[in-house]
Amino acid sequence: MPVLHMVRASPFAAPALEACLDRVRPGDAVLLMEDAVLAARRGTAPAARLVRTAAEVEGLRLHVLEPDLLARGIAAAELVEAVAVVDDGSFVDLAVGYPTILPWI
């Protein structure tokens, strides 16, 4: 069964994102929210890790929550191409679309 991984912690402050990306399987999805959206800004080590994992794991989908980007002043142009921006509405659709949700604090 595909798993939706929800990551909330900043990748610079906690190992949650890395721990998550070490364990994702083909067909899973990762949603970056709260301080974890900082991982999606290009030009950093966590962003490079995201891109690498997206290339390695078949069918892995990476999402980043729009309100958290807006709050932190991160524009779409700053993001790596591997991630897709979702708003609050599609976040709910995403969450109900996966039988299993795994939070990474």
Binding site: F12, A13, E34, G43, T44, L70, A71, R72, G73
Partner: protein, 118 residues
């Protein structure tokens, strides 16, 4: 007069710590203390331009920081290594802040009478 240094190490809006520290620094500065605010590690994200905290129901932090600097209530410092690790530069910041190296930042902390962090 005491030499206060407020240290901000967390990013904005995941928690309200940045705003709370800015408010505390503002009060200390208004009491005629020597106040510095040091942004290091994820704390540098507090200064990023273009923030819209209302998107997550949070309150502004760059506004109070600008007031601190403009009214001379506190001096703002940001660590260059922390910026570089996050692919940020001084041009990405909403508030004029003096950039210090990590070694200079350590000296600043070493000279403090009181260090406050959140």
């Amino acid at each position: 007069m005491k030499n206060f240094v407020f240290v901000v190490r967390r990013a904005a809006h995941g928690t309200a710590h940045g705003r709370e520290l800015a408010e505390a620094a503002m009060l200390a500065g208004a009491m005629d203390q020597s106040v510095a605010v040091a942004f290091l590690d994820d704390g540098v994200f507090q200064l990023k331009s273009g923030q819209c905290p209302a998107a997550v129901g949070a309150v502004a932090v760059t506004g109070p920081l600008a007031a601190l600097a403009e009214d001379g209530l506190a001096r703002l410092y940001v660590e260059s290594e922390s910026l570089a690790e996050r692919n940020l530069s001084a041009e990405d910041l909403a508030v004029a802040t003096q950039v210090l190296t990590r070694a200079e930042m350590s000296d600043l902390l070493g000279r403090a009478d009181v260090i406050l962090t959140a």
